[in-house]
Symmetry: C2
Subunit: 345 residues, 2 copies
Amino acid sequence: MDYKAKWMEGNGPESAIVVSTRVRVARNLAGVPFPGTMNEIQAQGVIATVEAQQGVLEDMHVQRMAELSQVDRLALVEKHLISLDLANKSDGAVAISSDQAVAIMVNEEDHLRIQCLLPGLQLEQAWETASRYDDLLEAEIPFAFHEEYGYLTACPTNAGTGMRASVMLHLPALVGSGHVGKVLAAIGQFGLMARGIYGEGTQAVGQMFQISNQVTSGLPEEEIIRNLRGVVEQIVAQEKAHLKKMTATSRLQVEDRVFRSIGLLSNVRLLSTNEAMSLISDIRLGVAADIIDLSPGLLCQLMVLAQPGVLQKECTESLDSQQRDVKRAEILSKRLKQALRGGNI
Amino acid sequence: MDYKAKWMEGNGPESAIVVSTRVRVARNLAGVPFPGTMNEIQAQGVIATVEAQQGVLEDMHVQRMAELSQVDRLALVEKHLISLDLANKSDGAVAISSDQAVAIMVNEEDHLRIQCLLPGLQLEQAWETASRYDDLLEAEIPFAFHEEYGYLTACPTNAGTGMRASVMLHLPALVGSGHVGKVLAAIGQFGLMARGIYGEGTQAVGQMFQISNQVTSGLPEEEIIRNLRGVVEQIVAQEKAHLKKMTATSRLQVEDRVFRSIGLLSNVRLLSTNEAMSLISDIRLGVAADIIDLSPGLLCQLMVLAQPGVLQKECTESLDSQQRDVKRAEILSKRLKQALRGGNI
């Protein structure tokens, strides 16, 4: 189905806690002003330069934001394939691989943002893939590079490697025990930071947190990734320990919470995005705690289907806010009931 | 099943709103002090006098409170067959008909409280049945009667006819619209009063209200009942009007509320009596609003099964409070799921 990005398969290592991994590299064309200051002709020139690399892009097709409907752009944001910033730029574009694991944003903050998104904890694999596309493109296009500063980027905090790696973590036990604040505050000393589910400046919803490297220079990419992996593994271990403690001391209460959320999500008639995320979070907790057997992939799909853009794409007619709540309830409850009838519980 | 009192069949007239009807007459044996002041020997004498009326009692069997376990007594209270006052009196007794429609309490506040409980709005039928037992017993036992005051009772407010008729109403739309207070306040001028689900001094739970006559003398029984019926019919009409308005303006919200409660009640793992009553109330609203098709009888049974005594009777081992919440969740969700699988929705 069209809405299934690769990461939504949900089946990678540690997938009960690590929802997805993303690695992106920021690159800019030598001799062309950064997107923030370039003119319309230069912007079209960058897109044309990318389009010309059919040998690298293979089955990927460059789609201009201006040619996509607002709903289609929003749906791409909700699937984490493009940023909200790019969705709002009429001179932006994106090329997406057929398995929707690779998305190259064009004319976002930088000329190119080469991203790879995979399910579970797959930092090295995502880095390798992003890096391979980077190498292939670099062989054809001269990138802005400085002997001392490394790859040049619109914002200096991205300069150097131009790489940002991040993982999306679901941390209900650390949230429930009140320890999440302390844990996330501590990662700063490792040059990492925590953000909400839709990136910078967004709130943590559904007990999801995005952890990424803050520093992009001074270290080789492999070391940045090793450092991030080490911290993520520690957070995963802590989440598991708190989950174990939680189910040891309050098994019944946890089961009750999980099954109440299943009961609600499979029966509601009106459902907001926020409530959907919160119910899905509780059900995901049930999977992590071995209370129910549902695929993490289903939960990723439900999470994305709960978003207004993807939801709108599922419908033929245009929906207002209440109609979306009705449709969201209908689609999510149907999917969940189908999965439950599948004999998992 | 043992716990099914006649009223729990839930199938009488107006059963979507009128849960049950009860008529009781208070009678005392001439020449014997009222229960509040009589001694142990006199109390046993009253029980023996009742036991001697096998021709009237037919298949009824006089059970002494002292011979029943606390759980059995509590279960009888929860089925509305005896009062909590009687359950706590060691010298009390009760005779219950095999269909559990008639229950004669012995040595409660008065020597005899002859009660008939029927499902739905059946005031005349309940009065006829109670009255028939009254006539049969009066032919054998001399009752305390005063030319001017009528039947004498321990509390003067019961003297005269000694009759109290009541109906249990489920009024979610009047509660939801905020009109229930005004409606119930107005019934005082008709010599009626409103109380909670377990009688005098109890709270209204599950949006249930008991309406009964306050005045027991000065009017013949038939007129008291006609008066009560007239007011009840008006309240039922008002509830229906508010329900219609509610579903016309907020159909989706009402459906959402009903199905959320179905989802919760069929999935919870921990359930208190109060939450159960509130969920059952919402589901009953769904039946009244034609949103779902479940028998009112099932809802009556769930309502009674939600109570601690009846619940304990369903189990072999003795339960603490949390175990009761687990068992309540288990039994109620199982019954509801069975009924839903029955193909009703």
